[in-house]
Symmetry: C2
């Protein structure tokens, strides 16, 4: 495995010539080429079709010129493989249909064998690797247990996360078993991605920022750490951890053993660097909504963002959250060009 | 105006015998007595009917035993008085119907004269004051310009605040005029509440936490400060400022001149105290979802929350956000009793 990828050198704080850049959800709806593929599939079917996965995964690398490819998938793919029914209705978020009332309902969930139940992931990564330029690493990813269990227990996206929290506080034993099973599933899922060719891993615990800090430690951090240490005990692979709304828990996040933290836009990057920049690398953190501005505005915001970190290694440019579907593609190109020229 | 209210003494960091407690949205749907009144009115009509306002405002004081009354209203009441159509459909959030395309659309918004256009507020406060026990202060409140303009520009509640941000970044001149007009409206609205008898003011910039810190300063902080300094130049009244997701901007919030900051549950209260506790008082910050637990759990969480602040004056117990509609009322009573006995 080549270790000379720009992105990996930045994560390892080695000397680099310029700042690397990729975009969360870079294979997505803001690209007309993505939408052309997407219209041929049901969403979850598309996530299981290697040809489609590879086609849309390659698009942002070729069209936008980002410095890494990330395999197109959805964080709910392993959840479905566990036995939870997942559907996406047009213009709506995911709908999950699996009622958990007692321990038996959790026991009935399967821990998938990814080489069989998610073979399409391994096949896609191998094909994607062939199509990626040799100087660009492939990012594999997974959701984290708290975020995934929130989808299961809420039945989809949520505003106040009342169902999962109520469950957590009232049926803790069942909840913790669910978390353990998801954790085991994710470890296998990530290992399969690594063994298929992923060069970097990003873990998304997107909604763990809605937990009080004590609860973050107990219900999210513990499992993040378990996943990261399991992977690290077997593979020397860089791991990036993302939580939306993480400004208050950055120091705790470092203790997970992640190599880099992906910072949301509500946290000042200079502040994040001052807190944890000596221990980990940082990724982020431009407000995705800045891409609604004109090209000059986008350029200025990119430069402002980078200036917060400063001219050092240990930094990857990215947005503070996933790119939004209605962003003009020209602005995305301007963003990436501005980073590359910095 | 009596200054001996427990709540005001806590805000002023005077010696107190026990910690005061009230609840954001304490006059609300978790009370069956509230729902009995509510079913007789359209929501916005109820917000304009002093008899209904006073009836539901008194309820939590009598039933739950909180240490302050807050006038029942909605942050959109002054927005409607500006000329924006506001409707609430059953089980949905607010719907606002006012298109802003150019300066003229903002110029056409009215700056209401509260003594005429929102006379029901003054009347309600006077009546409520008569019904409140003499030892309990009356809290007046208002939304802040960023949050209110988000409702106008998004047309209601929002997930990603893409419309207001896109507007802000592309039509800044129009946006700033809107903010100025809302600011002027709010100042008048709050002054009218004070002159009608409010003893404390809380300002809710609930959604300002979704801004990048630089944008918070430019688009939210500036107007919060303007409102607070306008009020403070005329009245010696304690002002509490609430923002959801404010862990990263606490020090800036202090510069608004607020006497107390109301802290959300994602921020550790001990951390908030260490950051700003010498400059302002603090209010908060129990996760509203803890009230889904059993009574023992609620008790423990109340004590944990208070322990984070410690046994000093300068603290008001509250939730970290508004109370949710489906919370068991017995748990709310347990929470309040536990604070009082601490």
């Amino acid at each position: 495995m080549s270790k000379n990828y720009l992105l990996i050198k930045a994560i390892r704080k080695e000397k680099i010539d310029r700042i690397p850049v990729w975009i969360m959800r870079q294979a997505g709806r803001y690209l007309k080429e993505y939408n052309q593929v997407r219209q041929n599939y049901d969403f979850m079917e598309m996530c299981k079709t290697p040809e489609a996965i590879v086609e849309v995964s390659v698009q942002p690398v070729n069209i936008i010129g980002v410095d890494a490819g990330i395999i197109f998938s959805d964080i709910l793919v392993p959840v479905e493989a566990m036995g939870v029914k997942v559907t996406f209705e047009k213009n709506h978020g995911p709908k999950l249909d699996y009622k958990i009332k007692d321990l038996k309902d959790v026991e009935n969930l399967k821990i998938p064998n990814p080489t069989i139940d998610m073979k399409f992931i391994g096949d896609s990564i191998k094909m994607f690797k062939q199509k990626l330029p040799k100087d660009k690493p492939l990012i594999g990813f997974s959701g984290a247990p708290w975020t995934l269990s929130s989808y299961i227990l809420e039945g989809g996206s949520s505003k106040n996360f009342t169902k999962i929290k109520s469950f957590m506080f009232n049926k803790e034993k069942i909840f913790l078993l669910l978390m353990e099973k998801i954790t085991e599933t994710i470890i296998k899922h990530l290992i399969y991605q690594i063994e298929s060719g992923a060069d970097i891993i990003q873990i998304f615990d997107t909604w763990a920022g809605v937990l009080a800090p004590n609860d973050y430690e107990k219900y999210a951090f513990y499992y993040q750490k378990k996943i990261i240490s399991s992977i690290k005990s077997k593979y020397d692979i860089p791991i990036i951890l993302y939580i939306n709304g993480s400004g208050n828990i950055l120091e705790k996040m470092v203790e997970t053993g992640a190599d880099a933290l992906s910072i949301d836009w509500m946290t000042d990057l200079a502040y994040a660097k001052s807190k944890v920049g000596d221990k980990v690398s940082l990724q982020g953190n431009m407000d995705p909504c800045y891409l609604y501005g004109n090209r000059e505005f986008v350029k200025n915001k990119v430069i402002e963002t980078i200036n917060k970190f400063g001219k050092e290694t240990g930094y990857i440019f990215n947005l503070g959250h996933g790119i939004l579907p209605d962003i003009p593609v020209e602005n995305v190109k301007t963003m990436v060009e501005t980073v590359k020229k910095y």
